[in-house]
Amino acid sequence: MPLLDLKGITKEYKLGKTIVRALRGLDLNIEEGEIIAIMGPSGSGKSTLMHILGALDTPTGGTAILDGQDLQQLKERQLVTLRGKRIGFVFQTFNLIQTLSAQQNVELPMIFQGIRKGERARRAKELLSKVGLADRVRHRPNELSGGERQRVAIARALANDPEIILADEPTGNLDSESGAPILALLKKLSTDDGRTVIIVTHDPDATAIADRIVRLRDGCVVEEVRNA
């Protein structure tokens, strides 16, 4: 049984009288521990898909099964738990909280799970050193480079030890030099920790690390390529 099983997913937005169809019957299976690159032109629905995978949004139609659970059947409370504990999100624009230090940003998801301060701090430091930022714990986001910020964001995504990492264009705002370590890091999360990693990307480097490349166009999967 695949970890994620999407069947006939549609997502529609109403903009006044016109209906925008971001996803139009998308089918996709993702196995546990896979690392997947999702590609496609702008507006093809990649982010929309990621939001549905991340339990941040619900599809208009179709079924999305995560680990045997139908996401549409879940209550808001269960969705919150899902995104708090089982899913880690990495954004293109990092989305760190500017007023908090690197360590506090990493602690944030743990605060919402009610984890004690000492445990939180220990784990945050551990994660920051894992992403190579042991000496940056006290820095604010605006005191870090883009690549460093994204690494803090990855540490944050790992805070509650999720099985699934979703990264929406994680290197989109970085040059290839600072993007490369990010991709390497994401790769390791799959190969070393056995996490499922899904990356939306335009980056040709990213396709190299993926087990599988999924291409979207107009809200549908148009091509799936398995890397050798």
């Binding site: 991340g54 941040l56 949004d57 919150v80 999100f89 954004f91 989305n95 007023t99 944030l108 301060k117």
Partner: protein, 418 residues
């Protein structure tokens, strides 16, 4: 977790210092006004109570006409009432009772050098000597000029004259004076003393005796002697009673009032508690009214907090999206924003309380100097705690609407917000 939420909220406040301070100022002005007014009100009440206690003593009560004391009437001349002083003295628990009654009498002064005496109508006040000996603090000091004396218990045909009366009648100590009453009785009195000119009335601070104290245009004779001229007392202005030690003053007062009423006297017994209660109700009504007006500025402060919070929610839409994306519940977001607005209220409350108490101290010293009393400055812990809690909740309440909006933001919309 709550502690972490406080820290998160505090971060966000300190992050935009300028705006936060401006918001806090809005709250603090209102709190200052409310705290100052309430604290001045409390101080005033406490001061008046203390003054009353000083004048009155806790073992004393007054008997007045039932219309004189009460919410419907404050100040003015007291109504007259009927009183059997001897009966009052016989009531259980009464140690001393002294009364004052007043009439207008036809007066004939001593003959002058030409053998003609001055005549006229003048107020005659019947005064129990105990009024002076036992209730000086209430009645005010009665002092006579050198060469004269005051009358004591058991004396009958003696009179003390006010300064003005002496002048008009061309009389002096030792002279005889005739007073005619209603009963066709005419009695001759020996003038035993002349009132010393009163000092500035307010100077002794015993404002409570106002109007009841010595008056220079009046003739004072013993209370019981009045009976001989005008019959049994139907014209008593006030009676003071001291209870026996160990007796409950309110109980004795109650008993006296009932007994006197049963005899047809339209009286009410007023104890220290009655007076302070009345004053308390009065001052707290006034200060509640003033504080209510000051409360309007609190409303303005609250709207300020609300405005700032709406801006904060708008500015941090993306941040809210991120918090939710990493597992924040709606209630978490709500709490964080409520704490944020509550903290701004609280800071306003702290600053406002300090300023308010300062202002009340300054104002009290001004008012005190103006009325020549030492106003007590009240910094009641209850007031402070209620104010601080209140200001936190004011802030939180003002932030409720913005915070709910923040909490209800759909994650994806919040994340897409630029």
């Amino acid at each position: 977790m709550l502690k972490d939420f406080f820290l998160l909220a505090a971060r966000s406040i300190t992050h935009r210092k300028m705006r936060s301070w401006l918001t806090v100022i809005g709250v603090f002005i209102g709190i200052t006004a409310v705290v100052a007014l309430i604290s001045i009100g409390l101080g005033l009440e406490r001061t008046i109570e203390e003054q009353v206690a000083k004048v009155f003593g806790v073992d004393t009560f007054m008997i007045m006409h039932e219309d004189t004391f009460g919410p419907q009437r404050h100040g003015g001349d007291p109504d007259e009432f009927t009183l059997d002083l001897a009966f009052l003295r016989s009531i259980d628990g009464v140690k001393v009772a002294a009364a004052v009654r007043e009439r207008t009498g036809f007066i004939q002064g001593p003959p002058g050098n030409d053998g003609v005496s001055t005549q006229g109508f003048l107020p005659v006040m019947g005064l129990s000597p105990e009024m002076r000996t036992e209730f000086e603090s209430f009645f005010g000091t009665l002092e006579v000029q050198a060469g004269g004396r005051l009358f004591g218990e058991g004396e009958e045909l003696v009179a003390i004259l006010g300064d003005e009366v002496v002048e008009r009648l061309h009389a002096s100590v030792g002279d005889t004076l005739v007073i005619a009453g209603d009963t066709d009785a005419e009695l001759s009195f020996t003038i035993v003393g002349v009132l010393a000119p009163s000092e500035e009335d307010e100077s002794d601070g015993g404002g409570f005796s106002g109007g009841m104290g010595p008056s220079q245009d009046t003739i004072y004779i013993p209370f019981e002697t009045m009976d001989l001229l005008w019959g049994p007392a139907e014209d008593v202005l006030i009676t003071l009673v001291r209870t026996e030690p160990g007796k409950d003053v309110d109980e004795v007062a109650d008993r006296a009032e009932k007994a006197l009423k049963a005899r047809g006297s339209e009286v009410t017994a007023v104890t220290y508690t009655d007076i302070t209660d009345t004053i308390g109700t009065m001052t707290s009504t006034i200060s509640a009214f003033l504080a209510g007006i000051a409360g309007i500025s609190l409303l303005v402060g609250g709207v300020g907090v609300m405005n700032t919070m709406f801006t904060s929610v708008l500015e941090r839409t993306k941040e809210i999206g991120v918090m939710k994306a990493v597992g924040a519940k709606n209630s978490h977001v709500l709490t964080i924003f409520l704490i944020e607005s509550g903290l701004m209220g609280l800071v306003g409350g702290i600053v406002g309380t300090l300023f308010g108490l300062g202002l009340s101290a300054v104002a009290s010293s001004f008012i005190g100097r103006f009325f020549n009393v030492d106003l007590i400055v009240v910094a009641s812990p209850t007031l402070i705690i209620i104010t601080l809690l209140g200001s936190f909740f004011l802030g939180a309440f003002a932030g409720l609407w913005p915070a709910r909006r923040a909490a209800k933001l759909p994650v994806v919309d919040a994340l897409r917000y630029e």
